[in-house]
Amino acid sequence: MNTDTVLSLKNVSKKIKGRPIINDISFEVKKGQIYGFLGPNGAGKTMTLRMIVGLIRPTSGTVEICGHNTRKDFVRAMSNVGCIIENPELYEYLSGSDNLELLRKMEPDISASRIDEVVELVGLSHRIHDKVGTYSLGMKQRLGIAQALMKKPELLILDEPTNGLDPGGIKEFRSLVKSLSKEQGMTIFVSSHLLSEIQMICDEVAIILHGRIIKTSKVEALSAGQKITWNVTNVAKAIKLLADDFGVEAVKDTEETLSAFTDDFRIMEINSAMMSSDIGIKYVSRQQKSLEDLFMELTGGETIG
């Protein structure tokens, strides 16, 4: 296998009490990538992440981290991983620094000075000697990131990392992730249910729905095509026109509006075609594609609920 591959999942499935939860997932994360793992809540994101870090055994399939199978060589595989799975649950009755010290002792070699370094990095120096029980959610999140970064991992796994962060914190977090990737060449695997989140920080993305990967692609490729809404005089005619002349499938939203996914450069063509077919256009609007829209597009209307 490719030495550039930091994380690879091959045909990973998980059944719980006979019920399939994760079906035959495969993807690869290359060194230095920021890889997004996108899906609505309940799609199996956290379950997959737990299988990657060895909290759950896959029913079948293999997970390899830096070439080490997590089942056969757990210790070597995990010594390359820093992670936060779901909420950053730490020992509430210990101070932040005691938490880090305790976890440091479980890793092969992290210098004591490294702790101060990561605490500084996540901006928690002033409260690090207070009990974690007194921290806000945002501070716990920061401490969680500190413990994951402590060992300078080859692969950083973050599960919904912006949950509970305020807008300022989210911005800070994004720049931290980008700098880790750029300056330290760290590979980052981040899950989210927010498309915009993934679009802003990731290079590549795997999209999961109902325990299946429905698409893996470059993030740019994903962004191509936005949702365009037309408010017109004759919706039915406009839909037919889009389908016949442009091969674009449009959906009737209300009595007066329809929407479709298409690229910028085609909008003008479509508009003039509509006008020459006597369809009056009141306005045209363009929307950032939401996760729902993306799923509609990818699954052809399957609901995500």
């Binding site: 737990r50 055994r57 757990f74 995990m78 020992y91 002792k105 092969p108």
Partner: protein
Amino acid sequence: MVKLIENEILKTFYKKRIHVIAGILLVLIALFAYGEHYTLTRTQDRVAEQLGIENAEDWKNIIGQQLQDLERRLDNPYIPDEGKASIQVRAEQLRFYLDNDVSPIGSTAARFMGQFIEQSIFLFLPLLIILLAGDMVSGEVNSGTVKLILTRPVKRWKILMAKLLALSMLEMFVIFMMALFSFAIAMVVFGYSGFNEPVITGFRVFEGQLDTSAVRTIPQWQYLMMTYAIGYFVAFVIGSLSLMVSVLVRSTSASIGIMMSTLIGGSFLSFFISDWKLTRYLFTVNLNLTSYISGSFQIVEGLSMTFSTLVLLGWSFGAIGIAFLVFTQKDILA
């Protein structure tokens, strides 16, 4: 591994579990000592009244009479040799009281320490250990911190092993506290005394009969060492069972609740022990190990120190085995 054990001990101390246990111990030992002291004074008065002597300090006369009586019986040719052995031991004990001016009616620091462990070994001590061990694993599952430690590059069995070893050290610490506190409190209430006093031990049940042929006396301090060591063994057995339950269930309260109800419910079954043979394989009816050496047990065919120890060991190893099997395989879902 040493670091892992260090971590586990640290967690228990920071959680203030040890503080709670120390507090309970102090309060209970103090109450026990007060009660003991109070009853003692009452008994002494009553005994004095019954015997028509001025005060209980006249115990020397009573013991002297008892000793003479025993010596007379030793000369009796109709008493079998093995019977004589036990009389000899008893006489030896009485002679010690007279020679060393120690009242057998009164209480000494040493006797108090012995009584405390004898009284707590089958219920109170196990309850403390359950408090200590019940949340070792379930507590971490409950709070989610289990995800932190299981995503480190450390094999799962090592993590559980560290917990087990840390637990056995903490158990030792609890026993040590028990001894220390009861010693300190007894010193205050009863004064330093009685550590060289002989204690009768060596009873055995053989073919349904009390076998006194091996009966002998040992000094009280030695007896105390034995009982507290046995206390540690019981603590270890209960600790491994609690650890297993703690691995099996997710919540700490469930884990502690299950162990406590099993312990208390199981001890009721000891009522049926002589007729319902199966009950003697329960761990709860075998906890009262000190009664075998103090000779204060009811005679039940087939129950002996060896039997009880083996039964307890069986439960302990079984529990540890299950705990490791489940913990290393388990999916951490919550």
